[in-house]
């Protein structure tokens, strides 16, 4: 049999999938465990606080419903941004990436408000188990959102400088995977911490 040559070796993959996407989904699998363990810790200690404030005294459902809604809509904005980049529309890319950033910042604003309000009410990390587990869990989530906002801002600037053509859509797709993941973690947090008390 004649010698075999792999065509276009530079882009050869065994699956036809992009390596960055494969790696990123593996990373997301890992992050599931990270947040899963933080959530497990919260649930373990539910009802064990020796002194207040207790969840039902401070958790503000109407407010958090709005911030949850905001985060969900930011995911919508994200897919629309990806769609815009894939279609080569700089305008759509900027509008919807801007949307993700804006909505992300609004979410963070709500979180900041909530945290300061709780501290006012006497809920701090050292105060009780609820304070410890709540702030660590939602704090890490907020930190992830912050990283996401910085990431989106970078993409926004790239798009502004015409450096985000359809060929680079994968960058936006992966940023999107990150952003949606942060959103689904919040979906779980919202139901387990806020709604089921």
């Amino acid at each position: 049999m004649a010698e075999v040559m792999v065509h276009d070796e530079h882009h050869y993959t065994a699956t036809g999938l992009d390596s960055w996407k494969v790696g990123f989904w593996a990373f997301i699998g890992s992050e599931c465990l990270f947040f899963g363990t933080l959530i497990a810790t919260y649930l373990t200690y539910k009802g064990s606080s020796v002194q207040g404030p207790y969840p039902h005294e401070v958790l503000d459902i109407p407010l958090t419903t709005i911030s949850t809604f905001v985060l969900l809509m930011s995911s919508l904005s994200m897919v629309l941004a990806l769609d815009g980049v894939q279609r080569g529309s700089k305008k759509l890319a900027l509008v919807w990436l801007g949307g993700v950033i804006a909505l992300g910042l609004v979410f963070l604003g709500f979180q900041a408000y909530e945290f300061t309000h709780f501290v006012h009410e006497g809920l701090t990390i050292p105060r009780n188990l609820f304070g410890s587990s709540f702030f660590v869990l939602t704090g890490f989530h907020g930190a992830h959102v912050t990283v996401g906002v910085i990431w989106m801002a970078t993409l926004f600037i790239l798009a502004l400088r015409d450096r985000l053509p359809p060929a680079k859509a994968l960058n936006v797709e992966i940023a999107g995977l990150y952003w949606h993941f942060v959103d689904i973690v919040w979906i779980v947090i919202f139901v387990l911490i806020y709604l089921i008390q």
Partner: protein, 102 residues
């Protein structure tokens, strides 16, 4: 086999994404409604189901897992299954088992 970056405008239209967004908003509204309705023992399972639906919808459609290679699904589900396991195991050990202390 085409690489992922070449699939052009994607399988879904912009209108489809707006619809998904709308569904997510409605599901959230339903969750909050259930919360305020104080339905007793049905509340928790109902809330879990609604949020699971939201979770699945974002993963399948926004993260495109429904239409992408099953390899991605495998990578994600591995993490998800183990995370669910850890949460369930600790929940059982700390919140359920003590009620059955021998």
């Amino acid at each position: 086999m085409t690489t992922e970056t070449e699939h052009g405008g994607g399988h879904a239209s912009v209108g489809f994404y707006w619809m998904i967004g709308g569904i997510l908003a409605v599901l959230t509204a339903m969750e909050v409604a259930v919360f305020y309705m104080a339905l007793g023992r049905v509340e928790a399972p109902l809330l879990l189901t609604l949020s699971a639906a939201k979770f699945a919808i974002v993963v399948m459609f926004f993260m495109h897992l429904r239409f992408d290679s099953r390899i991605f699904t495998g990578l994600f589900v591995t993490g998800l299954v183990l995370a669910t396991f850890v949460i369930s195991a600790l929940y059982l050990l700390y919140q359920v088992l003590p009620n059955y202390a021998v």
